[in-house]
Amino acid sequence: MSARNDLLPGTLELLILRTLDEGSLHGYGIAQHIQRVSAEVLKVEEGSLYPALQRLAVKGWVASEWRTTPTNRRARYYTLTREGRKQLRAELAGFDRIIGGIQRVLSGQEG
């Protein structure tokens, strides 16, 4: 995981998977989407985006193909694979647990 990323380790991949769960998108679109939906809170380090996409491709969680954009440009579109979707479910559950844990610690609750 790159040090340039302000996010927690693994979070960028999770966000990409979640974004692609809504439908196929090209890299730039993914970055825009994350930024927009998080109300500009999460800024995707654009340099990390493409290596992350390749890592997901290695694992077989996303597939890609070249398509034409609405503006009539050629762009690489990424799609979630079945395995990617499975992974997304698993990671979401794990992430919820971690967040819950962090929240409990931060709020000072016991047990």
Partner: protein
């Protein structure tokens, strides 16, 4: 996992396109970004600058994206290899012991593997060797020897050749020794006498000239043709490319070279340096040999015609051989049979094959013991590294990563071992080949065994297998390491060994003990067998007897009467000071290759079922006294038993038992079916009964033998025996001079003492025994190390417990006994398993044993005792350490 590999492979194959696409993708990103920025009010140039700034350096991004596919993966492998090497370097003792242990096992396995390969698997170097068969006759007597395959006589071979239809070709061959050159220049060389189809049948074409013409097959004397082997052509004729057509003197006969055979071809006997036509036997042996229907001396090889089954050929052969009796002068009695055998079946002598297989199994066991030991070493070392492992776990290394690391380490060790092993195999192989006599082991040349690509591949495969085998235990174990081990081991459980681990190691040690016992039993049985073999009554006294041969050909003595010339040689030999007795015979004891015949106790030959196969020997009177053969009854030959006198023979005890069970044979008459008594009467009177002499290998039970006086039949004996006062080898030069006084052209050869012949006859058994002893020794040593290791480990892990026991008043002596008892129990269980295995393996071994039962109680007991003693002895040090535990120290340690 596979999918990932596949995707990586595809990416790698299309890596140029991958780069282009990535570049295009980044360009698209920059453009989209810039156009968005322009929309938000920036100038075109500024927007482009900002977009680039956001993305970072394109090359860096691409590098990282690429890394996702390949570099990281390989980097990991390299890093792990480096880590393994560093870790092994930190514990040099462990590494050296481990690599040597594996190296010994792998090296031995590789060396024996190459022997096995040569013996069993490498294809025979003949064209379509699967269609080649050997043909044998089976004499009707049966009875005395269960598997009685005979060669052929020349007339019967001719009949076979003319009538058999199952074959594309049939060739006869025999091996002989011939003198090449003249006078002092003469060499005695191994030659094959072969019929003209021999070479074509095997698919061997001459590199110069041609094979024998078909005409030689019907020309007694061989028509003067000669073919040279490649080695001889190089050595003696300087690879003369114009050699064809030149004349070479062979056994005093001018022969014309018609061809030269390719490099490496030495005939089916694997020893021939030259070839002469089969029909020249009448020239080089004796003139009537081609006419004798009852003289079986010729081997036959044939190629099955396409689509002819071996069973059909067998049926046809039996019809042909059933008429063999027609070839005898006497009416046929009893039906001869025939046997078709695939050439590939006779590729290796069964004894040699079994020896190699047994040794291969033994060395495999050593390798297994070595592996088991390594597992133990690894476990002990892993225990010492619990903290390291735990730290690694704590800083985020997955347990799979740890397993991988252990596996990489053990694989690195295994490959180190394989390297050591290959070096060892290179050194050991020539020594191993010492057990392979030149030729005489079958159709394969064991001396051609090499450490080739196949063996290196086998070695590497073994290394991987051993590496994985060794890694499995410790790797599984490492998963149980808890993070708390890193932080200082507060809990009791982390200090004291979990019992399961020690149990696992005990099982390993018991396994080692079992294998070591199995090896030791095998070695013990072979030793026992060797002892019996050394004590075998050879039937003669080998001490101070020199044996040698003088050219067999009557042609060499053509100028004189051969019988008189040979008598002269004997007279000359007698005059040498220090010679006690001189004897001559057709073949020497322990030499194999003697003549055979069939006789009957009924001189009228009326009852065919009483035939007995018998070895036939023509001997001078001095033969028995020179060898010290035991006279049981009757008398030896003397000078009066010569040509023209009453026909007499001496037989051995086995022959007497088979011909006249329970009766004295003296004064009885027997009849022979062969020409050996040619010239009228085929019967002879028995005048003497002698003890059995072992004419074949010393472990081969003697068969029936018949001795006829050489002076009575003018038959060419070639072997001489000299009983001497002192060291017989001192007389070699005087012997040479004495023989040359009779004829300066007579070469003498095969000069060896009978004691040396005896040693050679048992060399194979001695070598196998020696090797098995070495393997057994290694096995026991490794098992001892194993016992020591596991006990030391167990004691170290229980220091606290032992300390408490001592503090509570346990006697140190009892603790010592407890540890020794545990070792004995482990070894005992292993020994029980080993004994059971030894019982199971008897069939494999018993074929190698001589007069020893594979379940010999003495050997089994002794081997078990040794293994148990060694096991307990190697536990002594840990036991002593246990007893010497200082309670105060151990408790304070906590």
């Amino acid at each position: 996992m596979l999918g990932r590999l596949w995707r990586r492979l595809r990416q790698w194959l299309g890596r140029r396109r991958f780069e282009d696409e990535l570049r295009e993708e980044l360009a698209f990103h920059l453009e989209s970004k810039a156009s968005d920025l322009v929309d938000s009010g920036l100038s075109g140039a500024e927007a482009a600058r900002q977009a680039k700034l956001r993305l970072g350096r394109a090359s860096a991004v691409m590098e990282e994206a690429r890394e996702a596919w390949t570099v990281r993966w390989m980097d990991t492998a390299a890093r792990e290899l480096g880590q393994a090497l560093r870790s092994l370097r930190r514990t040099p003792g462990f590494t050296v012991v481990a690599a040597l242990t594996l190296g010994l096992g792998i090296g031995g396995t590789a060396a024996l593997g190459s022997l096995l390969d040569a013996a069993l698997f490498k294809p025979l170097p003949y064209h379509d060797a699967d269609r080649l068969v050997t043909l044998n006759t089976v004499p009707p007597s049966g009875g005395d020897e269960s598997n009685n395959l005979f060669p052929w006589s020349y007339p019967i071979y001719r009949t076979l050749h003319a009538t058999a239809t199952s074959y594309d070709g049939i060739a006869g061959y025999d091996v002989t020794n011939l003198n090449v050159g003249q006078g002092g220049d003469a060499e005695r060389l191994v030659a094959e006498e072969v019929s003209s189809q021999y070479f074509a049948l095997l698919g061997i074409a001459p590199i110069l000239g041609r094979s024998f013409s078909a005409a030689v097959d019907s020309t007694p004397g061989g028509g003067g043709e000669l073919i040279l082997g490649h080695a001889l052509w190089l050595r003696r004729f300087g690879a003369d490319s114009a050699i064809v057509g030149k004349t070479v003197t062979v056994h005093g006969q001018p022969l014309t070279v018609v061809g030269v055979m390719p490099r490496g071809f030495t005939g089916l006997t694997l020893s021939a340096e030259l070839w002469v036509p089969l029909t020249s036997a009448s020239l080089f042996a004796y003139s009537s040999i081609l006419e004798e229907g009852g003289n079986f001396w010729l081997s036959v090889v044939a190629r099955l015609a396409p689509e002819v089954q071996r069973s059909a050929a067998q049926a046809e052969l039996e019809v042909i051989t059933s008429r063999i009796g027609d070839e005898f002068r006497e009416p046929p009695q009893g039906v001869w049979g025939g046997r078709v055998t695939a050439l590939t079946e006779s590729r290796i002598e069964p004894g040699i094959r079994r020896t190699i297989v047994v040794l291969g199994v033994a060395v495999g066991l050593v390798l297994l013991i070595g592996c088991a030991n390594l597992v133990n070493l690894f476990l002990a070392r892993a225990a010492g590294r619990r903290r390291e492992m735990a730290v690694r776990l704590a800083v985020g290394a997955g347990s799979r990563h740890l397993m991988r690391q252990l596996t990489v380490e053990s694989l690195v060790l295994a490959f180190l071992g394989a390297g050591v092993g290959l070096l060892l195999a290179r050194v050991a192989l020539p020594a191993l080949l010492g057990l392979a006599p030149a030729g005489g082991v079958g159709l394969v040349d064991l001396r051609a065994a090499t450490i080739d690509g196949r063996i290196v591949a086998l070695t590497m495969a073994l290394a991987v297998l051993a590496g994985l085998l060794v890694a499995v235990g410790p790797a599984l174990r490492s998963r149980r390491v808890g993070v708390q081990d890193a932080v200082g081991g507060v809990s009791f459980a982390s200090r004291s060994e979990a019992p399961s681990r020690v149990t696992f190691q005990r099982v390993l040690v018991a396994f080692e003990t079992a294998l070591a016992l199995l090896l030791l039993t095998g070695a013990g049985l072979l030793v026992q067998s060797l002892v019996r073999l050394q004590r075998v009554d050879l039937g003669f006294t080998p001490r101070n007897v020199l044996g040698f041969q003088v050219s067999p050909s009557d042609q060499d003595l053509s100028a004189r009467d051969p019988v008189r010339a040979k008598a002269q040689v004997i007279e000359e030999l007698r005059t040498i000071p220090g010679v006690r007795e001189v004897g001559a015979a057709t073949c020497l004891p322990l030499g194999g290759r003697c003549m055979g015949s069939v006789v009957t106790p009924d001189p009228t030959m009326a009852r065919p079922d009483e035939r007995v196969s018998i070895g036939v020997h023509y001997v001078t009177p001095g033969f028995f006294t020179a060898l010290g053969v035991r006279l049981v009854e009757g008398r030896w030959f003397d000078e009066s038993d010569r040509e023209g006198s009453r026909r007499v023979v001496v037989i051995n005890e086995t022959a007497a038992k088979r011909l006249w069970p329970g009766q004295s044979p003296i004064g009885k008459r027997l009849a022979a079916y062969t020409v050996y008594f040619a010239g009228g009467d085929s019967t002879a009177e028995i005048i003497g009964l002698v003890g059995d002499v072992r004419f074949h290998a010393s472990q081969a039970e003697p068969g029936a033998d018949l001795y006829a006086p050489a002076l009575q039949v003018s038959f060419g004996f070639t072997s001489y025996l000299l009983a001497t006062e002192g060291d017989p080898l001192l007389l070699v030069e005087p012997v040479r001079r004495a023989v040359n006084r009779v004829d300066p052209n007579l070469p003498i050869y095969d000069v060896r003492t009978m004691a040396e012949r005896e040693a050679v006859a048992t060399v194979r058994t001695r070598f196998a025994t020696f090797l098995l002893l070495v393997f057994a020794g290694l096995g026991v040593l490794l098992a001892a190390v194993g016992v020591y290791g596991v006990m030391a480990y167990a004691v170290a892990g229980r220091t606290r417990e032992l300390g408490i026991r001592l503090a509570l008043g346990a006697e140190p002596r009892r603790l010592r006994r407890m540890v020794l008892g545990e070792a004995a129990l482990t070894a005992g269980i292993g020994s029980a398993v080993g004994l059971a295995a030894a019982f199971g393996a008897t069939r494999l071994l018993s074929s190698l044993l001589y007069q020893v039962d594979a379940r010999d109680p003495f050997v089994l007991t002794a081997a078990t005792a040794v293994v148990l003693l060694v096991a307990v002895a190697s536990a002594y040090l840990p036991a002593a350490r246990a007893a010497a535990t200082d309670p105060v120290l151990t408790i304070r340690e906590e």
